[in-house]
Amino acid sequence: MKTLLGYANKIAVQPGESISFKVSSENERPYQASIVRLIHADTNPAGPGYREEIVPGAAWTPGGRRQTVRPGSCVSVPAGTLSKPACSISFDVFVWPTLPARECQVIASLWDPADQCGFLLKLDGKAGFALQIGAAAVLPLGRSILPRHWYRLRASFDLRSGEATLSQQALLPQALLADHGEVAARLTIGRIGGARELVLAARPADDGFGYSGFFNGKIEAPRLCVDGELAGHWDFSIGISGTAVHDTGPHELHGTTVQGPARGVTGHNWDGSAFSWRDRPAHYSAIHFHADDLEDAGWATDFSWKVPAGLTSGLYAARLQGAGDEDYIPFVVRPERGIATSPLAFIVPTASYLAYANEHLALDAALAERVHDHLPAFGPNDLHLAAHRELGGSLYDVHDDGSGIMTSSRHRPILNMRPKYQSWLGGTGSALWQLAADTHILDWLDARGIACDCITDEDLHAEGASLLARYRCVMTGTHAEYWSTAMLDALAAYRDSGGRIMHMGANGLYWRIAFNPARDGVIEVRRAEVGNGWITPPGEAAHAYTGEPGGLWRRLGRAPQALVGVGFVGQGFDVSSYYRRLPESFDPRADFIFADVPDEIIGNFGLIGGGAAGLELDRTDPALGTPPNTLVLARSENHTRNYLPTVEDLLINYAGQAALASVCAELVFFETPSGGAVFSTGSIAWSGSLSHNGYVNNVSRITENVLRRFLDPAPFETQGMYSDGHD
């Protein structure tokens, strides 16, 4: 069992800045904390072995305290005038429950937990919708409720007469189903007043900390009248990109969202005439709440560290050790803003780390084993995640109610973004995915004595092309899959101004994401048109954070093939294969790449599945924009039957389809008109072969040949090669 968990307030920090670490010591015992530089996060004995370096002068022994995670989203509206004693209340709202059988889901509450007085409108399992006034007076409606159907609820009560009513109207009535009706009763009602907030989709917790009784589903257009006067009418279609919740009523009782419920979702009146909330906001005036939403664990800081001046840029971690457990909290030390300390930058794909953060696919998806053609293996971190759903899921998982998780935050412990972590996603061999796999590149650079600045996706998103302009060459990670518009713009501008890109992995530049404008370290995806784990519901293709249409960059008109020559074609997760050199590799333009490489077979070795071509694979496609001067240097072959084409390439099904698919990796190089160049490996597994045979092998040689030339400021020859195009 894991007893130490933590996260940091930042993913990237520069010399002179501080970073804070938030830790839970489950048994409340002291632990040792230190800062380490992560060199090689792979423990596979077939490779160089795990390697980290202690940073001197950065050690602590915190006392240890237990910190908890309390997920669940809602809207909180400071009570203001609502805290005054009232005689009568009426409340009107549209709801779309997703887990109607679950008990104690509060739709709206004006409740004082200390005195247990006020009212709760709730969904209470078999009792159906119910109105509770005070601690004991409950008016259950008892009508049928279908999941994912809209209902209009009206509740009212009068303290003087004790009269209370509750009605339910199904907007899509069903035959032979008691899905509408009204109940009325005379109740013994105490006082109303003293509540500090009106809460939608939850109620204030009895212990005074946060909320409880979370609702699962959509709520729209709540309207509250007090003593016959309009007290508040909240329009969720205003301010969809942010956390503010707007009251159109006379008292301007504006609220805020808590723990990031989904906004920009279809409301009861969505009719298919618009597919973005920006086009018809009035059709998007709902919020989808989940009892397992989590945007910020909100832990207190246990220790902080000021990064000393002159510390080498790289991937670091706070290492926690104690009571038979350890944890690492990774972060990047980037160069100071405006300065490059090396001509090479490695873009640590932190957005992709977030996309996969705390994924539960093999626990939840029956197909996981079949997709991988072998059993998933779970380590201690996976078992802890499985038992602690409160830590939240990844962008591949679904909420308790089956809806896709559209946002991911780093303000929580992320147990699969750790050195030494083996992922069932990583196939066989080292079985690495994302962060740990990317250290194959950082370790190789270290072993080859090549200095490198590490920058993150968040830096790239915030600073754009100016960040990259300081470098002669930039490298991507093994699976830099998730890109915001600003990130993609920056990489494209860099390339088009003479930059050199080494795209070291595969299935990169694939999904569009949006960064939360209100909270750093939180991303959103809308899986429009094509799904993975789940697919965006009709009408909800536009990101709430930006309004941009979501989905694959390929479907948004910016296929990765146009930027880096190759794009995703298929994947397999059993064993990797090798590349065979192609005639184009003997083009004089590629001489520098194959200097001292006499081999025809490239990468028939490696820590990831035993070969350099494996897991997810990319190849060229002129129709999707691969530049005409691209040299396809080598192509992988002899993959197993488990390497299957990506779904966006399948426009119809037929027998034997998989066997005929061209799922392979292509190693490519091309020059850009401005004297820059791009080299793409086409395979996630490529970097797992770098360290083979003491780093002396043809994958390492090719990579270093390219890198040395890409770091050379001499522009590439780009004029006069072809007079009439090139096939």
Binding site: N44, L375, A377, G379, T428
Partner: protein, 118 residues
């Protein structure tokens, strides 16, 4: 519940021997069809591996299928290779699906060697 129609011919051990020779990697189309049957079903109760010591030892577990309940490690042997663990799970599933007991590991390995030589 097993299908009324037999989905696997329990007398055809050639595919079992093929799996024994290479549990992970390329499989014949016929073996893939058998694996599709054996690996079908809901996530609740599915076999998985529990890593006991990374790169060294693994145990068999079962996925709960219930959110918040971790896979449970089963009593039984610890395996020193993932391939052996895969063979063990294949055996459990085959025997549950067909009701027929498979021969021992050594026999299956030897038979595959004989098949290959032939």
């Amino acid at each position: 519940m097993r299908n009324a129609v037999t989905r696997i011919d329990p007398s055809d051990l050639s595919l079992v021997r093929e799996f024994w020779a290479r549990p992970i990697g390329d499989h014949s189309a016929k073996l893939e069809a058998v694996l599709s049957v054996l690996r079908a079903g809901q996530v609740a109760g599915k076999y998985c591996l529990i890593t006991v010591t990374p790169h060294t030892t693994w145990a068999i577990g079962r996925i709960s299928g219930v959110r918040g309940i971790a896979p449970a490690r089963l009593d039984g042997p610890v395996f020193h290779s993932i391939a052996d663990a895969e063979r063990h799970v294949f055996r459990l599933r085959w025997e549950a699906e067909t009701g027929c007991t498979l021969p021992g590991d050594e026999f299956l390995r030897a038979q595959h060697a004989a098949d290959t030589c032939a």
